[in-house]
């Protein structure tokens, strides 16, 4: 062990980064694995400057969480963020990063935007993605 005064600091800071929701803390740390400068998963996904490749990585990571999460909360949040990452690509880049059908996507986006407990930024991105999809404005990712 070397210089504990310096080395212990980042580990102790994990406690301060932990929110009241363990599932949200988990998604934040997954987002940081994808983009180390990310403040949270939502911040990363809704930022118009986040490239499609990063949103694709988010989509895959949250799909994995949906299937393999430790708790019901983990899996539920994973499903919402999976859809949100697709919505972000569609709303901010007009790009479809999934092979899901339009019907399935509309259903997923609607579920986010009508959820009054969801973060307002997620609801907004879901609404804009729904609109983009309905208007046929999106392209398909290579």
């Amino acid at each position: 062990m070397t210089d504990p005064e310096r080395t212990a600091v980042p580990i102790l800071e994990w406690v301060l980064q932990s929110g009241s929701s363990p599932a949200i803390t988990l998604t934040t740390w997954i987002a940081k694995e994808i983009e180390p400068s990310a403040v949270s998963a939502i911040d990363l996904m809704v930022d118009p400057k986040t490239p499609c490749a990063t949103l694709l990585a988010c989509k895959d990571a949250f799909k994995h969480l949906t299937l393999d999460g430790e708790t019901v909360d983990d899996r539920t949040l994973g499903a919402v963020y999976y859809a949100a990452s697709i919505a972000a690509a569609m709303a901010n880049h007009r790009t479809r990063i999934t092979r899901q059908s339009s019907h399935a996507l509309e259903h997923a986006f609607r579920n986010i935007w009508i959820d009054e407990s969801a973060d307002l930024r997620l609801r907004d991105i879901a609404w804009r993605a729904f609109f983009t999809l309905r208007m046929g404005l999106e392209a398909t990712a290579d």
């Binding site: 005064e5 212990a8 102790l12 803390t25 990571a61 994995h64």
Partner: protein, 255 residues
């Protein structure tokens, strides 16, 4: 009451992290009692706090050869022998602060005794000099050494707990990824192992699997860390306040 001096403890330096047993308020209260498990609790408490006490003593001006004796003396005479454990209650504040204040007083007392003994004339009387009432000179910063050792103790115990749980649950890969991606780089300055290296080593098919495991294990470790800190602070707000205070004290006021 039987004193700790009459019942030698099998305490040794650096033996603070063995096992996953927790020393919390319950253990401290039990150690101070005369219950059938008090001897076991006293030994656990003594082993746990040896490095923390020893770190303070070594930076207080006690020479290296005598530091272990002073540490042993404090544990036997004060921590276990007197009523320090009995007087430690959640209502009286942080055990960390109580322990440090007690170690400080004991160490200063020991330094004064040693200084007085070295000055004592053969005739057997001592002249009290004016400056003898002042503070004993110390080198380094014993309080900082104590806090650093305290933080290392907490992190080591959380680490042991997570490792043991992972190995018991057949999650050797999960522990390995946490350890070599996050813990070792923080604690030893080792280079973090790359996602690609973990994928090769553990036959993982995608990078998102590694990302999920890193995040999951980090959450588990943080929960274990909070549990260690929570042994002296009942609620999560107090734990967060304690961490903030520790960061200020060991981080040189970065917060």
């Amino acid at each position: 009451m039987t004193t700790a001096r009459e019942k030698p403890l099998s305490i040794s330096p650096g033996d603070s992290t063995g096992g996953s047993s927790h020393t919390n308020w319950k253990a401290i209260v039990d150690a101070a009692s005369s219950s059938v498990t008090s001897d076991q609790s006293r030994e656990a408490v003594a082993q746990r706090y040896w490095p923390v006490i020893n770190a303070f003593v070594k930076r207080s001006g006690v020479n290296t050869a005598e530091a272990d004796d002073v540490t042993q003396g404090f544990i036997a005479d004060v921590l276990l022998g007197r009523n320090l454990l009995a007087s430690a209650t959640p209502e009286r504040g942080k055990f960390r602060a109580l322990l440090m204040a007690s170690v400080r007083n004991y160490t200063i007392d020991q330094l004064r005794k040693r200084m007085a003994a070295s000055r004592k004339p053969e005739a057997g009387w001592v002249v009290q000099l004016e400056d003898d009432t002042g503070s004993v000179a110390v080198d380094g910063d014993p309080e900082r050494a104590f806090l650093s050792a305290w933080v290392v103790m907490i992190i080591d115990r959380a680490s042991n707990e997570v490792r043991e749980h992972a190995l018991r649950s057949g999650q050797e890969m999960h522990w390995d990824i946490l350890d070599r991606r996050l813990l070792q780089p923080c604690m030893t300055g080792a280079v973090p192992v790359s996602t690609e290296a973990f994928m090769r080593q553990w036959s993982l098919s995608s990078a998102v699997q590694v990302a999920n495991i890193v995040a999951r294990m980090k959450r588990r470790f943080t929960a274990a860390l909070m549990a260690q800190l929570g042994q002296f602070d009942e609620d999560s707000e107090s734990v967060v306040a304690e961490v903030s205070a520790l960061l200020v004290e060991i981080g040189g006021g970065r917060r």
